[in-house]
Amino acid sequence: MPALPPGVPVPDDGALPAWVRPAAHVSDRPFGVYVHVPFCSVRCGYCDFNTYTAAELGGGANQAAYAGTALREVTLAGRVLADAGRAPAAVSTVFFGGGTPTMLPAHDLARVLDGVRDTWGLADGAEVTTEANPDSVTPESLRVLADAGFTRVSFGMQSAVPHVLATLERTHDPARIPDVVRWARDAGLDVSLDLIYGTPGESLADWRTSVEAALATGVDHVSAYALVVEPGTKMAAQVRRGEVTLPDEDDQAAKYELADDLLTAAGLRWYEVSNWSRPGHECRHNVGYWRGHDWWGVGPGAHSYVSADDDGAHPAGVRWWNVKHPRAYATRLEAGQSPGAGRELLTAAEAHLERVMLGVRLREGLDLGVLTPSGRTSVAGLVARGLLDGPAAVGAGDRPARAVLTRRGRLLADAVVRDLTS
């Protein structure tokens, strides 16, 4: 799992820095809540997320007690934001991720959602998503979630090809995917499927099979991620020992382009580098990250972010992260302390880099007015090299000039960001 960033300490009461003040323009901006559920039935060889199997945990950190522990943090969050005058008018999006949130009984997830609602209220039409393993849901559990206020479920499908799933150490039966999608839709939930491309041994034809299988379910949203082998994972060790060979970047690029072709043809258009949906079915919670909105992350290892007024005199925002281990997390909260392990106070330059790096990933692109003068000079070259859309970069009428990635630009987004922030 990734190490937490280096940072400065978080005060015991979790109080935000004094320069985070009430601000008129932020109170009506969307506010998201992320709830991390750090449990899985097995640990997949490629996964570096902060997650644990039941056997690895005991005591107050166990699954049965988890909802209660998470609710303690929700209560703390309500107090901290209120003290800073930054309590949101209502929560616009809630996202349960993991791990495998559906390892918890549906009514536990519902209890945590109730806590969020009790603390800040849910906005009208709020989006409430949970990730789910196709193995860990039933028609009944999905109906409980829908009844509790969940609106969306994102299944970790990864692939439709058995040998690919075996390499990823995914235990679900791919034949189950159409069923779980149907159950979720029957329960009134919006559905997304997550896919992974570039698994060792996966052919272009295998990948086509997976994308087509996902589309055949009729879902409105697909996320497709290139497999990244993070250091410290089992797969990283296999690669190091030469047991598996990673596909090269050309293979990954070809698979991205194939997915983009197939998804677009089926009516799902890209709205972020790795996300496609039918119009109106975008994941608003994730869009909040890319637009730089505020969010509170609940759970071990979860990150949170609160922006500040960009007055130049203070940092531009504060991001913090909780202790990683569920037991340490539970212990802190039981003692009435913030579970925050560290935080960073973003300088204007850091905030700018983040804004460009996140904003440019979206189909709506980035207002060129945001860029520094030297960053703006690289726009023409990026358009010339086919990485930014020409007409968008020029703007027209009341449409301001924006940096919008072309398809080739999406595949080279990091290079584009380096140029735009040079």
Binding site: P2, P5, Y34, Y225, A226, V228, E249, D250, Q252, A253, Y256, V273, S274, N286, Y289, W290, W295, G297, G301, A302, H303, S304, Y305, R319, W321, E344, E350, L353, E354, M357, L358, R361, R385, L387, R410, L411, L412, A413, D414, A415, V417, R418, T421, S422
Partner: protein, 621 residues
């Protein structure tokens, strides 16, 4: 009675020894043929160093070096030896062992009347030993052939005695057999030196003339100059003159080494010792120069002096451009102790600010580079070594080219390159292989001799540029390490040479330009474009790499455009990590060199310059 008693010793005091009691000799040997062990054994037997104190003595000497702050390499050690009731002073003069330093070797030999030709009884003679032997014979030195390591099970003394007898003339039975390790035969060798090596001859009443055969810079004492007195004598506190520069200095100290420096009242005809004048730069005390007395100067200098002439050039650049002033200071300091080192600032589009440095040869290049990196803590990039070219343009203009990228582009009438006479010794089974290699490298055979039944001496004229490339490595690998090589400059020849430029997206990369024979231009082009394709990272656009002679492209590779450079996932918990990654990448961008719009990591230049095209690692010493 090897060690003379007190009465006899009185007759061989420095500055008071009759020339007929002096014997000046050197040992010619290949690096691992046991020269130092034999020398140590001689120091013991002559009582200069006590046998049981040998090790401790050695350490003491290091202490003395520290206390007195003087670095004494045993350039010339004076040893007493008695034969048939007569005392003698033996001066053992060290010779640098490498082909790069042939001139220094020749000056050391000129300080002697005899040479011990020391050869490993298990390996036979090596090319470089042979070359130094010929040099000694040209200097009319008395050669005493000796086989060492006769205690080794693999020794074949009969076989190699015959080889040596063939080389120096004489009877195989005349070849002495010794073991530096056990001491066997070493007394007989010392006796033989006294018997065979002629005593020095000089005019004690003539104006002083002493030849400098080495000079070493010492941090505390300044330059320590080693001399052999030919005529007259030198005494402390008199003023001396260097005859080539006319510079004069006061003799602060004069003495002999035995084995520590021993100040004396002077040095007389035939004697060997050291001088200290307080000068700080070895250039003021040049090897080969003649020292005379300022008040009573000699009219004619001793012959054989010449200025060191660089044969091989390479660009030296700091990896970190801000180290340039440090590199300059370091070269200035090294120069104090290395009369052959010369350099001029130059600028490269690819590598920034650096120096074009001239060296005596590849080993010299390596020594200097290593000292700069080790002693001065510099991180350096060196361009592929090249030789000097003399170019005549059609309008008659003459141009000297020391940097390939400065090779003139206009109408060229003629290009001349330096050539060397190379001697290669090889087991006879590899004769065909070696001839093949020499032919590939544009060699012209001069002769071939069997030294013994299974050992052959091949003589070739070869362009120095070919040797500078990777000849020695190839020779070693194709003969399983058995062949040895020596060479000496032998003028120049005209040749069909062209400059091959390497272009990245149409922009010339000056550091990779090379002057090669027209027939090899294609091979060089293919090699370099292929190598650069491997090490330059993909860019946002396709990058052609071309090798060209003038405007004509002779080889081409393409670095395909980068297709993917994006992290697939970027959600709440990824943002800090992702931002830091981008910050790091942006920092890395600063360490890139831009050739046109192509970003090339500095490491790529180092990699491209270091592997195949690097100086042939010359293991000889």
């Amino acid at each position: 009675m090897p060690i003379p008693g007190p009465t006899l010793t009185a007759r061989i005091q420095p500055n008071a020894t009759a020339p007929e009691l002096i014997r000046n000799f050197c040992i010619i040997a290949h690096i691992d043929h046991g020269k130092s062990t034999l020398a140590d054994r001689m120091l013991q037997l002559t009582g200069v160093v006590e046998a049981r104190a040998m090790r401790a003595q050695y350490l003491d000497r290091m202490d003395i070096e520290r206390e007195r702050g003087i670095t004494i390499k045993s350039q010339a050690v004076r040893m007493p030896w008695e034969l048939d009731g007569t005392p003698h002073a033996l001066n053992m003069i060290d010779t640098p062992g490498h082909v790069d330093f042939t001139y220094e070797v020749s000056r050391s030999l000129a300080a002697c009347e005899g040479a011990v030709l020391l050869v490993d009884a298990a390996q036979g003679i090596e090319a470089q030993t042979l070359a130094n032997l010929y040099l000694a014979m040209e200097n009319d030195l008395e050669i005493i052939p000796v086989l060492n390591k006769i205690d080794l099970p693999a020794a074949q003394p009969e076989k190699y005695a015959e080889e040596l007898a063939n080389l120096v003339g004489g009877d195989p039975d005349d070849v002495l057999k010794v073991s530096g390790k056990t001491g066997a035969g070493v007394e007989a060798l010392l006796d033989r030196i006294v018997e065979r090596v002629p005593a020095p001859v000089g005019d004690a009443d003539a104006p002083a003339r002493a030849m400098i055969f080495d000079s070493v810079y010492d941090t505390y004492r300044g330059v320590v100059t080693y001399v052999r007195v030919v005529d007259g004598n030198l005494n402390p506190r008199e003023r001396i003159t260097m005859m080539s520069t006319r510079a004069s200095h006061e003799l602060l100290e004069i003495g002999v080494i035995s084995p520590e420096p021993n100040p004396t009242k002077g040095l007389g005809v035939g004697e060997v010792g050291y001088l200290i004048t307080g000068v700080k730069d070895v250039r003021q005390s040049k090897v080969g120069d003649t020292v005379t007395n300022l008040a009573k100067p000699a009219t004619d200098a001793l012959g054989g002096y010449s200025d060191p002439k660089p044969m091989v050039f390479s660009g030296l650049y700091p990896v970190d451009g801000s180290d340039y002033p440090d590199l300059r200071d370091a070269l200035d300091k090294l120069k104090l102790n290395d009369a052959a080192l010369n350099y001029e600032p130059e600028t490269s589009v690819a590598l920034g600010f650096g120096f074009r440095v001239g060296f005596l040869g590849l080993l010299h290049l390596e020594i200097v580079r290593e000292r700069l990196e080790r002693e001065f803590n510099l991180d350096l990039i060196s361009t592929a070594p090249n030789v000097i070219y003399d170019v005549t343009l059609e309008d008659g203009t003459e141009v000297k080219v020391t940097n390939p990228s400065e090779f003139p582009g206009g109408k060229i009438k003629e290009v001349r390159e330096p050539v060397v006479k190379a001697t290669i010794l090889t087991p006879s089974e590899f004769v065909g292989t070696v001839m093949g290699l020499c032919n590939e490298r544009r060699g012209v055979q001069l002769g071939m001799d069997y030294l013994s039944e299974d050992r052959v001496e091949l003589r070739y004229t070869l362009p120095l540029a070919e040797i500078v490339f990777d000849f020695f490595d190839q020779l070693k690998s194709r003969t399983r390490g058995y062949a040895s090589l020596d060479y000496e400059p032998s003028g120049e020849q005209t040749a069909d040479l062209v400059k091959v430029d390497i272009l990245l997206q149409g922009e010339q990369v000056d550091a990779f330009s090379a002057i090669v024979h027209r027939e090899k231009a294609y091979d060089y082009g293919v090699l370099m474009t292929g190598k650069l394709k491997e090490i330059i990272p993909r860019q946002q656009f396709e990058v052609p790499i071309q090798a060209a002679i003038g405007a004509r492209v002779i080889a081409r590779e393409t670095i395909r455009a980068m297709r993917k450079d994006v992290l697939a996932k970027c959600y709440g918990g990824d943002i800090s990590r992702k931002r830091k990654l981008l910050e790091k990448q942006k920092e890395g961008k600063k360490r890139m060199k831009n050739i046109g719009s192509v970003e090339v990591p500095k490491d790529a230049f180092i990699a491209a310059l270091s592997s195949d095209s690097a100086p042939a690692k010359d293991k000889k010493k």
